[in-house]
Each structure stands twice: as structure tokens, then as C-alpha cells.
Amino acid sequence: MKFAPPVTLLLFLVPVLCGVGAVLLPAVGYFPALDLYELSFAPIKTLLRTPHLTSSILFTMRSGFSATVISCAIVFAIFASFSGGGVIRSLRFMLAPLLSVPHAAVALGIGFLFAPSGWFIRIISPSITGFSEPPLWLINPDPYGILYILALVIKEVPFLFLIALAAQNADNSPKALITAQGFGYSRRAAFFHVVLPTLYQRMRLPIYAVLAFSLTNLEVAITLAPNRPPLFSRFLLDLYNAPNLIEQTIAASAAFIQILLVLIAIAIWRSAEILIHKVWRLMLMQKKIMQYNGTQKNTAQQKISSSTKYICAKATDISAGASGIAVCILGVLAISLLPIWSFAKVWRFPAAMPQEWSSNLWLEASSRILEPWGLSLLLALAASACALVLCALCLEQETRNKNNMTEKSLDKAIFLLYLPLVIPQTSFLFGIQILLFSIAVPVNLIILIWAHMIFVLPYIFISLGDNWRELDKRYKLTAQTLGYSDNRIMFRITIPILLKPLLTAFALGIAVSIALYAPTVLLGAGRFSTITSEAIALASGGDRRLVGAFALLQAITPCFFFVLALLIPHIVWRKRAFMAGYSYS
């Protein structure tokens, strides 16, 4: 038990750090596997001469920031307008299922919606557009990456929303909100004054993770982003796949630049945070000084300003609610196109629905589907199970040692947890690949499971952590005084009581693993294929019905485990009213 935290850190952080290290050395010309031992800036120089590099970087920054800013704005607007109300609860029910759907499935669905031959064009054709054939916008259809941003927003809004909800409950901010309203602040003002500052503190790291993902992900970039200029992650992947081994050093320096890119983006975001905070403080001071000097506006002006304020408030309420609902609707539409495609037999343009249906695809392609699906499940189950055991042991050790640990060391641990979510996946996985290549170890299933576990573990830890720590410590103390040792208590008391959070965390782990694309592709080097890698490989130009089938499996597999995580505790504890309602998450 004592060894759980160090072992977890070792299994979890060492690959990340080694990966980063292993990508930095080739970037400066040191690559023993290729007999390159001399430091040189040649790779970086070659990279800098590559055409489109700057435009690719700028495009990446622009779309990454847009996606993050829009997602944050929607989530904060929803909370500012509806905090503590029923709207939040109903949005929760609509947004939570979207969280379990992988990015790739959403991106593919969005593609089905908005492609030139997609569903939106179909429903307005030929009546409005007059198109009887798909329009030929194939050459750079979306130069601004709007679809890329849209797909990310649809996925990140549910994530940030649920994080904010959890943070709010942990801070007990609904009560703070009511107290502040009691002092005469409007709900919105109360939100900005008393809730947002602490809420933001808790959301900072998840937001950085969203920013990093938006800047570096491969799955959405491949499915939806335009080719010219390519997003940087795609640019990196192309270099990485280059046949010439020397190009690997250039790819390594590109990976290094990607890491820099993320660090710079986070630095920019942090500076913006500080700036906004300063300006906000200044504005508050100004207001106070005005009040103090009696330079209040006269009543007529006040009246106007209060009615404008009212209109503005209503307008933000409506737009916040509308954007939240729009995210849900687009998400649901995108996902519902997946099964439709997979069961379509004949679906000519511009029909809004397939003319003929059939389940032939599922029967004919079953062998093609089953194998990647099996690997996906195997990776997901193994990685989540390992991560769950490690997290549970760490949390148990933490609660046993609670008194010896200071808050500060816990904060540090949280920071470490977010490391693999903030460091670009492509970069450190590439580093791991170089490392394995150098020590001549071929990638096998265990390494792949391990790689999946690195990404699964932070989510499981975060999801389980609060529940584990919130469990009334006196249960344990009572059992101790009744004569039970710590280990027996863990199995007889802690785990049974926390069954639901444990299973929920496990299902979350499955969802994360199923969605992973980069580890399978970068480490597997084509030898392993999961439903996610297959779906994305087929996305450009492949059979839409097969893409629909793979993406559908991606969407429903995690859902299945979430349903199990809800059902099992209900069945096991059906006679225990308290346990049935025992859900924090």
C-alpha cells in the first residue's frame, strides 16, 4: 500500500518525461540509433525552411484558441445565467452523454452533417439550393477550420460543463450565490463576484488541457480540418510517416516545436487571465471611487442604464441557453447520422433519408469490424482496470496518511496528473517510439495498454478522488474500533460503499481509452488497429457506411459501460435505499 503512490508515479510519469526527453535529443541532431552523435541545428533549420510552416502554426493557434475560448465562454455564460437553477440540471442530462462519445465519432458525424453531400445540404436540396448533385466544394471547403472548431466545441462544452458543475458543488457555491443575492446582488453579479473566482481556480488545469488538446489533437484534425494549410499536428504526422529515416530528426524537431507551441499558448492564456483579473479589479475600484465621490449618474440615466442592463441580461440568458442547447442538438444530430449511414443501402443525393435500408454491411463486414473492436475493448478494459487499481490504492494510501500530507503536496500531485493531458500526445508518444526503437524493443500489446493507461489514469483519479476523500472518515474509524485492520476495512467498507463511483470511474476510463487515437497509431505503427483508428483511416474517401459503423461502435461502447455502471449498483444495493441514492458523480 505504501508503495502505491511512487509506483503509480513511476508507471505514469516516467514514460511521459522520457518521451519528451527522447524527442528533444534527435531534434538537436543526437540520434544514436541512426549513428548521429553530434549536436547540430540542421534538423531545426531544415524544418524552418519547410513551406507552409508559419501559416500552419498560425492556423493551429487560431483554431485552437477559438475552440477553447468559445467553449469556455459558453460554459461560463450558462453558469452565470442559470447557476443554481433547473436549467443547469436539464443541461446536465443532455450534455453528460455527449462526454462519453469519442472526439472522432463526433467529428465524423459533423462531417456527415456538413459535408458538401452532407445532411444539411440534402435537406435544403433541391428545393432551396437547386442542387441535384453534391456541390463541388471539395477543394478547400472550409479554409477557416470552422468545422474543426465546431466539433471541438461540441466535445469540450460538455467536458468543461461537468467539470464546472463538480467544482461548484465542491466549493458549495450555490449557497454562496444565495448569500450574495441576499446582499442585493443580481444573480449574474453574484456569480461574477463570489463564484467565478474560486470556480476558475478549479477549472484552470482542465481548461489548459482543453487548450492543449485543441492545439494538438490528431483525430479531429484528420477528419475535419482543411489540408492547406495543415494543422500542425497533421504536419507533424506527415513528417513522422516519411519513409526517410533522416526525416525522423526533422519530425523530432517539429515535435519539439509542438511542445513549445503548447507552452506558449498556455503562457498566453495565463497572461490573459492575469490581465483580465487586473482590469476587473481596476473597474471595481473605479466604481467604488465613483460611489464614494457621489459622482453617480442621475436618476434618468440610471433608469436607462438599468433597462439596458435588463435587456442585456435577458439577451445573455437567451444566448447562453441557446448555445448550450445548440451544442446538444448538433451533437445528437451528428451522432444519429452514424447508425443511419451504417444501415443505409441506397442513399442517393439529395434524399434526406436512405431510399433502402439493410443490415448487410454489419453482416458482411463483421470480420473487419470485430477484430478492431476486440482490440479496442481489450485495451480499454486492461488499461482502465490497471488505472483503477492504481488510483484506488493511491487514494487509500492518501486517506491513511491524510494527516501527514499537507495541502500543498496534494496540489502538486494534481498538477502532475494533468501533465499527459497538457504535453502534446503526438510529441511524447513520438519520443517513446524513438526510445523503443533505440533499445530495439518492438511495440507489443503490453506497451500499448501501458500507453493507454497513461491517458486513462488522470481521468479515473480525478473522477474517483473526490468521492474517495468525501467518504465520512468516521465509518472507517468505527470499523477500526470494532477491531478491523485497514486492509479489511478497504474491502468490507470502503469499496462496497464506493461501488458506484468506482464503476463510474471505470466506465470513464473505458470511454477515454476507446477514444484514443494517437497511441494506437503512433506506437502501433500500423500493426494494431482499433475502431477509432479504422474509422479515421477510412474517413477520407472510405465507405461512408463502414465509417458510420465504426464511429457508431465508438459511440455506443462507452455508453454501454456507463449504463452498466449505473445498473450494477442499483441491482447489488436494491435493498438499500441510501446506497441507491449514493451518488456524488
Partner: protein, 220 residues
């Protein structure tokens, strides 16, 4: 107890306390919140947080338990909440206390003791019930029985009556004190309610006094 002292950052909460509690005797510690009542109890349990410094020996029936871990001390602890394990039935909660130390106790014997304990608590036939379906008073009684079934050598009561409303509290208090005397357990009651102290009929100390005074050894 011999020379028990507890301090936080150099501030004494309990100063060199020497105390002997006889079987079936109830000693009451009174004090407002923050006076060190809970720290005192956690020192006896062996769960004093490291931010506090405690010293002094705890001896039960001649055994020094000061350095034993919590689960070996055989101390019974009751809180103001019943803390029945929500995933076990009432009967399982009681059986849980019996299974702790006995490795090979047969099922029949456990079932019998559970039935007997429920009868004594006026809860006959409640074994299969879900704890959350019980009333506050019923839960509190189950909690006491669970604690006593483990046959503690010392019983610590941490404001066990303060959650119950007045009429219920009186009855429950009587029930607990009767059990303590029946089972002849040395008991320490910590409370802020003078009525509890009155009803116990035992010796009373105020936490404020403990912080400064040195009480003589062997006081009975």
C-alpha cells in the same frame, strides 16, 4: 490514564491528566467546542492528528495500549451520528462487530447473538431491515448494540445524544447508561450538555480546568 497531556503549537489542551475509570463507571468531560474534547478522545483512540502533540500512557486492565494501533485497542466509540454501514442490513451491521476478532465463530452463534442484541434494543425482527428505513432513535440503539457486541474494554461517547430531540434523547440516554452498567464497561462521556452530565451520575470534569490543573493520581 497516566499523565496525559495534549497540546497544539505549545498551547496545552489537556495538562498532565491522571484518571482511573472503574468498570461500569461513567466519567463526564464537559466543554464548549474547541476546548479539546475531540482531541482528547482521539488521543485515547490513537488517531491524534500529527498537528497535535500528545503524551502519557493509557492502561486498560493493566495492559498498556498507548502504542497499539486503533484496531487492536478494543475501544468502543460512539458518535452523534449512528454511522451504521449503509450497505449492510441491520443484522449484518451487528454481525460485523462480532466477526472482527473471532476468526472461526460459527454462523449460528453469530445469528443468535444478533437476535439477542436486537431483542435487548427493542428491535426484535429487524435483522433484515435496511438501516435507512429505521427511525433516528432505532438507528442510535442499533449503533450502541453494534459497539457493545465487539466487547470493548473502554467505551468513549462523543456527544452521542446531541443529534436526537429532547424526549428521544432522555430515553436513549437511559438506554445507553443501563447498557454500560450491565456490561460493566468503563465509560468516558464527552458532552457540552449539562443534562447529559447530570443524568450520568458520574464524576464531572470541565475541559477548561483540565488545561491548567494537575489532577491527582488514583482518583476514583
Amino acid at each position: 490514564m497516566l499523565g496525559v497531556s495534549i497540546s497544539i503549537d505549545g498551547n496545552r489542551l489537556v495538562q498532565n491528566l491522571n484518571l482511573r475509570v472503574a468498570s461500569g463507571e461513567i466519567v463526564v468531560f464537559m466543554g464548549a467546542s474547541g476546548s479539546g474534547k475531540s482531541s482528547f478522545l482521539s488521543y485515547l483512540c490513537g488517531t491524534l492528528p500529527p498537528s497535535l502533540q500528545g503524551s502519557g500512557r493509557i492502561i486498560i486492565d493493566g495492559d498498556d495500549i498507548t502504542s497499539l494501533p486503533v484496531h487492536m485497542r478494543r475501544i468502543g466509540l460512539l458518535f452523534q451520528d449512528d454511522l451504521l454501514f449503509p450497505h449492510m442490513s441491520v443484522g449484518e451491521n451487528l454481525a460485523f462487530a462480532l466477526r472482527a476478532r473471532t476468526t472461526k465463530k460459527n454462523k449460528e452463534a453469530i445469528r443468535k447473538s444478533v437476535t439477542l442484541a436486537l431483542q435487548q434494543a427493542d428491535l426484535a425482527g429487524f435483522a433484515e431491515r435496511d438501516p435507512s428505513s429505521l427511525s433516528g432513535g432505532q438507528k442510535a440503539r442499533v449503533s450502541v448494540m453494534r459497539c457493545l457486541l465487539a466487547q470493548p474494554r473502554v467505551l468513549l461517547l462523543d456527544e452521542p445524544f446531541s443529534r436526537l430531540d429532547i424526549p428521544l434523547r432522555k430515553n436513549f440516554r437511559k438506554f445507553v447508561f443501563r447498557k454500560v452498567i450491565e456490561q460493566r464497561v468503563p465509560t468516558i462521556l464527552v458532552t457540552h450538555d449539562p443534562a447529559d452530565a447530570q443524568a450520568s451520575g458520574g464524576k464531572k470534569f470541565s475541559m477548561e480546568r483540565l488545561a491548567i490543573e494537575k489532577l491527582p493520581l488514583g482518583e476514583k
